[in-house]
């Protein structure tokens, strides 16, 4: 009996130690994100140095400063908007969980949920696509391609601005598609009679 207790305590201790040593997914995920953020930051700084070198022919200091400011703003805006889209996708995911939860309860009550299951599967796929799109966008660094000619400066910088605008609009459409897919699943569930009620014993 004593041996069994000793072996059990030993086994439990090893299991706990192993559990503590295994990194969780969230830890790995956050360190990867941090690494990606640092890499992106180094790229931004490298491209800033390139931009400064290309602008040596520009005499107007105010214009130079404006170009640098736009360069910084463009990349910060990309970071802020992709962060916002990630938060929105987290909320959409949470809404889909609620729909799934409601569907399970309706199914347990003997209701036919066959119209909802394909909508949920579709929503999951659209959310995954949107997430991939946001991640790709978040990794992008926008450079200002200038020849150093003051007369073409506005159009050159404008191209960078347009590129970010077009990319963010495209990502936003994917996030909206994810929201619409979850909404569609919720509507399909709402159309089932008594989907919002729960059966109680008489």
């Amino acid at each position: 009996m004593r041996n069994i207790i000793v072996v059990s305590i030993l086994g439990l201790s090893i299991a706990m130690f192993a559990g503590a040593q295994t990194p969780t997914d969230s830890t790995t995920g956050s360190s990867t994100r941090e690494q990606m953020r640092q890499e992106r930051q180094s790229q931004i700084e490298a491209k800033r140095a390139e931009l400064q070198a290309r602008m040596t022919t520009i005499r107007d200091e105010r214009k130079k400063q404006a170009v640098e400011r736009i360069y910084t703003q463009v990349n910060k805006l990309n970071e802020r908007m992709t962060g916002h889209f990630t938060n929105v996708l987290d909320q959409i995911d949470e809404m889909l969980d609620r729909v799934e939860n409601r569907m399970s309860k309706a199914e347990a009550n003997g209701l036919d949920v066959s119209t909802v299951t394909p909508e949920i599967a579709n929503a999951e796929a659209v959310i995954a696509l949107a997430r991939a799109s946001v991640q790709t966008q978040a990794a992008k660094v926008y450079a200002v391609q200038t020849t150093g000619d003051e007369t073409t400066l506005r159009s050159e910088v404008g191209k960078t601005r347009q590129a970010l605008h077009a990319d963010l609009t495209a990502v936003r459409e994917k996030v909206k598609a994810a929201r619409d897919a979850v909404r569609k699943a919720a509507v399909a569930l709402a159309q089932i009679p008594r989907a919002n009620e729960v059966e109680v014993p008489p």
């Binding site: 105010r62 214009k63 404006a66 170009v67 400011r69 736009i70 703003q73 463009v74 805006l77 802020r80 908007m81 916002h84 889209f85 929105v88 909320q91 959409i92 809404m95 609620r98 729909v99 939860n101 409601r102 309860k105 400066l153 506005r154 910088v157 404008g158 601005r161 605008h165 963010l168 609009t169 936003r172 996030v175 909206k176 929201r179 979850v182 909404r183 919720a186 509507v187 569930l189 709402a190 008594r194 989907a195 919002n196 009620e197 729960v198 059966e199 109680v200 014993p201 008489p202």
Partner: protein, 69 residues
């Protein structure tokens, strides 16, 4: 046995059987609404209220600087 007692017993038996039948036929049909935040209506409402961000508004500062070039 008194005729009235027999009739009373028959009525009583009918009432009991009727009660049993009513309870059985209503079994499983008691539904109560779920909590308000768990309904499909609330989920749809939350989805509609999501802030997708105003991209054009976010570009205002950049556009202002762009005009100075």
């Amino acid at each position: 046995m008194n005729k009235n007692i027999i009739i009373a017993i028959i009525v009583l038996v009918i009432l009991v059987l009727g009660g049993v039948w009513w309870v059985r036929s209503n079994k499983g049909s008691n539904y109560v609404p779920l909590q308000p935040n768990d309904t499909t209506g609330m989920i749809i409402q939350d989805a509609d209220a999501l802030d997708m961000g105003d991209i054009d508004k976010e570009f205002q500062d950049i556009d202002k600087d762009l005009q100075t070039l």
